[in-house]
Symmetry: C2
Subunit: 208 residues, 2 copies
């Protein structure tokens, strides 16, 4: 009773994610989702309920996924770097690849931006579980680097925001376009170099 249920349910949620992301809330039709999931429309109503419940489920799913990935990446922050430039670049690559460029994360941002005003509750979920939640964690890591003397900054929160902005600055951000590993690496290197020119020892930046 659980097994079959569960498989269908996953297929539905997965298909719904794709369709909502592609067409937005209003543009997505239950029929399209049913077809994408290779499931009859009725099954969707049996399993989940109405369109809104389905949407909430989709957003929560992406949210949890993204949050988990972000936490995993944060765990790889170079707390005691030997070569701070290289290690920050590698961290930046992981961050952009797994958490920023990732198709679902971008989709989530888009969905939130578009439907957030219609479903304020989603906004709350996003604030609690979404990427924003973990920025303080990044700030704390930078603050620790500063205390250890690896970098020189006064406002870790600001530095964290700027770090994110810099490693994003050079990413091609056309919607739905794939970003190659080489582009990713180049963007990370450019961002980190400028970050270190501003906050690091000059040698570290020049070494990049």
């Amino acid at each position: 009773m659980q097994r079959g249920n569960y498989n269908k349910r996953c297929a539905i949620i997965s298909a719904a994610t794709a369709v909502f992301v592609r067409d937005g809330y209003v543009g997505a039709s239950i029929d399209a989702i049913a077809e994408e999931a290779s499931v009859s429309r009725q099954t969707i109503y049996n399993q989940i309920g109405d369109k809104e419940k389905l949407f909430v489920e989709v957003v929560r799913g992406i949210n949890e996924q993204g949050s988990a990935r972000l936490i995993a990446v944060l765990a790889t922050f170079p707390d005691e770097p030997e070569d701070i430039g290289r290690e920050l670049v590698e961290f930046a690559i992981r961050l952009t690849r797994d958490c920023l460029c990732d198709e679902n994360s971008r989709a989530l941002r888009k969905l939130i931006e578009n439907e957030g005003s219609r479903y304020p509750e989603l906004f709350e979920t996003w604030k609690d579980y979404g990427p924003g939640k973990n920025w303080p964690a990044i700030s704390a890591r930078f603050a620790r680097l500063a205390r250890a003397g690896d970098i020189d900054l006064d406002d870790p929160d600001l530095a964290a925001r700027q770090f994110m902005a810099l490693i994003r600055a050079d990413l091609p951000n056309e919607p739905g376009q794939m970003v190659s590993d080489a582009e990713l690496a180049q963007a990370a290197r450019n961002g980190v170099r400028t970050f270190l020119r501003a906050y690091g020892k000059r040698e570290a930046a020049l070494a990049l």
Copy 2:
């Protein structure tokens, strides 16, 4: 024959802009636009044609407006700065206030992001007239500053992208939320300070 036409036409485009921005392409109904414009639905069909033509018209309008504003702001770039820090901050404030935070520009970005895939032609218009078109102009200004010895950089294009990213990094970017002048100024100052720490003489950054 032109007079009455023209007024109605403007009212329609203006109302359509508001509704498309608020509800997206699919969510916007002709009836809602007609009501917002205080015009009968039939008049819209008489004046413009179908929904798609209306949408194209709206996007082109916002595009032209935004592009004009950006060019105007670019003309105020501090080419021969006395106090580079202060003048860059003031430039950054104008840029964010008039071109980035502006309600219509944000809306345009959103519309392009959502409907761009459906109307590739809009994407082209946006590339030709949109903000991206004028980035080379910013790069050129930074290159000139570098030649004059005011700042120290090797890749003006990259510097321009990072400048934009840095002055954006600290802007509150909740959709539809108003940004106060104080927040704007603070964000600009933070961004420019880091930019100058990386690319300028250290004194200029510290003076901020």
